[in-house]
């Protein structure tokens, strides 16, 4: 009885038979006898996520979350400080992501497969799953082309056991949006969904794509079953052969075959399969696919040199026909190789096949290759050096007692950031170590309230949470690093150890921070040399 209980608790997909688990390679446990494999996978699963081994196991249903514990009154009896802290923590949770510069697939070919079966008429998402999905699909198309201007997209629908082609592989967002409007919005969800047909059609779309780009499929699966004409495992194998990576967003519950599909095409990593919790989470999961995927191994995509044209825009005195739609237009872009006129970029020249882009399109993808480092939360010991956010001039709380004196008990984001940055770069700044101490002290003392200041590790400027989010999501440059010369950064660094800074630029403090500075310099060097970092030669003088 105990054995089966444990099985029930620990395995997420309860139907999995040990063989399947072994084959899927879930946590590193190999094949072997059923019993021992079960035990080994169990152990590995425990090591993955559960608390300290040896502690009394808690059943999942016993592990309740008391949300009212999070709301505690501050010293002055109001919960305003706690509310601010909670809000900031939610905002920050979204931000923290891996920011090592690593190789990503920039030229992407993605097939978006939408579920148009009768399961989408459920009203658990407002107004219906179907309408919400289409709305998000529209946003997805816009966002995808904004983030990846030189990539291509194709849309397929699963309707009534068949696969419906909504739009072909193309690089113009307007085409996809009109196709969605005409074909997807007008169709009534009906029948069952067929994974195999859709995947085969997706495979066909991706067949002709060149090897230097990525091949991806994003599948939105709302049903709980699939009615296929043949063996889905054959399709899965052919997908693996064609090096196509599949991501799935499940709307209802986790389905075993989806999990297998994702794990097999992503080399055993099932993080690409997400099941939604609510509408916000759904949108997050979908938009996560707009970020270029990390290139896993060398063989996945062959880096090659592509020939591209950079046309200029011309305005003509008289109208002439364009080569792409045969419309009469007065201006457009002239292909440098064959002088054909095209209306929109990026596109392939219809006459000679040369890819035509603007340099701005390439520039849009640079921020994926050089991501902005995360900022760390500033502890109260250094909080006095700034009274306002540098870039937007919004005031910070100056007094510790103004904010709530009890910290929130959710996973402290700053410590994860701190540990992450500390492990990656010698995060030498004291800001990264101080929160870690705080966290350890949390068990003994009352924890620190949020200072609402976030500092860039390079230039030590303090920013507010809104600037943090804005910079990391839209702007991708640190305003401090861009706006302050070396002397000013030094002067700022010279303000530590804490002294009453009067803020003028010529405050001559002792250079006690020289060791810090050298450490920061080392850290930056290490970052630049880290794994396939297309580094500083992009920027001539750094």
């Amino acid at each position: 009885m105990a054995d089966s209980d444990e099985d029930f608790v620990l395995s997420s997909s309860g139907d999995d038979r040990p063989k399947a688990r072994g084959a899927g390679g879930g946590g590193g446990g190999g094949g072997g006898a059923a019993g021992s494999s079960r035990r080994s996978t169990r152990k590995s699963k425990r090591a993955d996520g559960a608390p300290a081994p040896g502690a009394t196991k808690r059943e999942k249903w016993e592990d309740i979350q008391r949300s009212w514990d999070n709301v505690v009154e501050g010293a002055d009896g109001s919960i305003a400080g706690t509310v601010i802290g909670l809000l900031e923590a939610t905002k920050r949770k979204r931000l923290l992501r891996d920011t090592t510069p690593i190789q990503r697939g920039i030229i992407r070919h993605l097939v978006l497969i939408l579920d148009l079966s009768s399961a989408m008429l459920e009203k658990d998402l407002r107004p219906t799953r179907f309408l919400l999905t289409l709305r998000y699909a529209r946003d997805f198309v816009t966002e995808y082309f904004e983030q990846n201007p030189i990539s291509q997209l194709s849309i397929i629908g699963m309707h009534d056991g068949l696969a419906l082609r909504i739009s072909d592989m193309g690089g113009n967002p307007a085409d996809h949006l009109t196709a969605l409007q005409e074909k997807a919005f007008t169709v009534e969800p009906k029948g069952a969904s067929s994974l195999q047909n859709a995947l085969e059609m997706g495979r066909a779309e991706l067949f002709h794509t060149p090897t230097h780009g990525t091949r991806e499929i994003l599948l939105i699966f709302g049903a709980l079953s699939s009615s296929d004409p043949g063996d889905i495992h054959d399709t899965i194998n052919s997908l693996i052969e064609d090096r196509i990576q599949v991501r799935i967003v499940g709307l209802a519950a986790q389905v075993a075959v989806c999990r297998e599909l994702v794990m097999k095409t992503n080399d055993g990593d099932d993080s690409a399969y997400g099941v939604i919790l609510d509408e916000g989470h759904y949108r997050e999961l979908m938009m996560a696919a707009t970020t270029p995927p990390v290139t896993k191994t060398e063989e996945k995509s062959v880096p090659s040199l592509l020939m591209m044209g950079f046309p200029s825009r011309t305005v003509e005195k008289h109208e002439s026909l364009c080569s792409c739609h045969s419309n009469l237009t007065k201006g457009g872009y002239i292909c440098p190789r064959c002088t054909a006129k095209v209306c929109f970029l990026p596109t392939e020249c219809p006459c000679c096949g040369l890819t035509l882009i603007l340099s701005t399109h390439l520039a849009r993808s640079y921020h994926h290759l050089f991501p902005l480092k995360n900022w760390v939360e500033v502890p109260w010991s250094e909080a006095h050096t700034s009274t306002h956010c540098w870039s937007c001039q919004s005031p910070f709380p100056t007094n510790q007692s103004q904010t709530s004196s009890i910290k929130i008990k959710i996973r402290n984001p700053s410590t994860t950031a701190a540990t992450a940055t500390a492990s990656r770069s010698n995060g030498a700044t004291t800001t990264s170590t101080a929160p870690k101490n705080d966290h350890q002290q949390q068990q003994q003392q009352p924890p620190q309230p949020p200072t609402q200041r976030y500092a860039c590790t390079d230039c030590k400027t303090h920013f507010c949470i809104d600037c943090d989010i804005f910079t990391h999501e839209s702007l991708h440059n640190c305003p401090g690093c861009q706006s302050l010369s070396e002397e000013r950064v030094k002067a700022r660094a010279n303000m530590w150890p804490p002294s009453i800074g009067d803020g003028t630029a010529d405050a001559a403090g002792e250079p006690t921070s020289s060791s810090m500075r050298t450490q920061v310099a080392e850290a930056t060097k290490m970052l630049e040399n880290s794994k396939i970092a297309p580094g500083s030669s992009m920027e001539v003088e750094n």
């Binding site: 230097h212 950079f310 011309t314 921020h367 001039q393």
Partner: protein, 374 residues
């Protein structure tokens, strides 16, 4: 029946009703201005006065309009107005004034509209502070330094706070959120959380900072997302970055030919706000050069080769087929045939046999094109 028609309830206040925040980014590199003055006889104080009149004109449009000024100085970016709160607020120019001077100033102040006066005083005081802390050696050390990317980033974060309440123009995307689109102050808000329009004016006398290409492009895309036009008044040294900035964000790019008349250029070309721009045709540069420069020789290219990993651009396939920035071996097999004409290999002569096997040359002649008989 029209009287009972309640549909007007459901209309939003048009976004055109919102006020505008004007952010001015001003180059304050003393050496660049001195060089400019020699060629055009427009000195920096005169230009500053004209800019302040422009700012006053912007504020005159409406009581809710606002203005911010950012200085792009040799050692980085400084906020001139609203002044950086962390710094010392004493105006260095006031230290050595006599009481009569103060009275005179007070009298002068009486003839200025208070709102205009506050802005002017703050800008001038901040600028005086800035110059006081600048040494000639520092200026000579970096004659053409320009922190354009930093200024744009600071401007955009400020706009994000003032005009969008920090939301960055994102709609949350969750349906049902659109209903509560009134901010806490009861002010008007449209569907992206915007409470004010914004525009940026860049007045520049320094050339493009080549090493800031990526941050400048990032700022341009962020401005595009927030729908903030970037207007450019380039007094000297034509640039490519700022042309692209103006073009991509829908702003106005002008290189005034007669800088002494700067005020007229400002009033006519850069002052109209979002609503007016929908009705006006403003002078701007149309033929923007979007071509890229190669990374190896900095030549401007029409056709280039792009590494698929790091997107660096080359004018010809690099030596040894290794990308110089990311050190990745590149597959150039598909490019080997470039420049060579496509020629089919000659076919073996099997045709003669086939023809010989045919009977009579009559048929052969029938296979040829018919010849018209007389």
């Amino acid at each position: 029946m029209d009287k009972v028609d309640g549909t007007e309830h459901y209309n939003f206040k048009a976004p055109a009703d919102l006020a505008t925040l004007q952010v001015i980014i001003l180059d304050t590199n003393p050496l660049a201005w001195a060089t400019f003055e020699k060629s055009s006889s427009l000195s920096f104080p005169a230009a500053l006065s004209q800019l302040l009149i422009f700012a006053n004109a912007h504020l005159a449009f409406s009581q809710s309009n606002r203005c911010a000024v950012i200085a792009n100085h040799i050692d980085g970016v400084h906020f001139l107005s609203p002044a950086d709160p962390g710094t010392d607020h004493r105006d260095p120019g006031e230290a050595d004034l006599t009481p009569e001077d103060l009275k005179e100033i007070a009298n002068q102040n009486a003839s200025k509209y208070r709102v205009f006066r506050l802005l002017e005083d703050e800008v001038r005081a901040s600028y005086r502070r800035l110059i006081k802390n600048t040494t000639p050696e520092a200026v000579m050390a970096c004659p053409n330094s320009s922190y354009l990317a930093g200024a744009l980033s600071a401007a955009l974060t400020y706009i994000n706070r003032i005009c969008f309440g920090g939301t960055g123009g994102r709609s949350s995307g969750v349906p049902g959120d659109e209903k509560s689109k009134v901010n806490s102050a009861g002010g008007k808000v449209d569907e992206t959380g915007r409470t004010m329009h914004a525009k940026i004016l860049v007045v520049s006398v320094t050339p493009d900072p080549a090493n800031q290409y990526i941050p400048v492009m990032n700022s341009i895309f962020a401005a595009q997302r927030l729908k903030v036009p970037i207007d450019v008044c380039k007094l000297r040294d034509s640039t490519v970055f700022l042309q692209q900035a103006a073009d991509a964000t829908g702003g106005v790019y002008m290189e005034p030919e007669h800088p002494q008349g700067l005020i007229q250029y400002l009033m006519m070309g850069f002052l109209p706000d979002h609503l007016a721009r929908q009705s006006l045709i403003l002078p701007t540069k149309v033929d923007v050069d979007f071509r890229a420069a190669c990374f190896c020789h900095k030549k401007v290219l029409d056709i280039g080769f792009v590494c698929s990993v790091c997107l660096s651009i080359f004018c010809e396939p690099p030596q040894g087929a290794v990308c110089s920035t990311c050190q990745v071996k590149l597959d150039v097999t598909s490019l080997e045939n470039i420049g060579k004409p496509v020629v089919l290999p000659p076919k073996k002569k099997k045709k003669k046999k086939a023809i010989d096997s045919l009977p009579e040359s009559g048929v052969a002649s029938a296979a040829e094109s018919p010849v018209p008989t007389e």
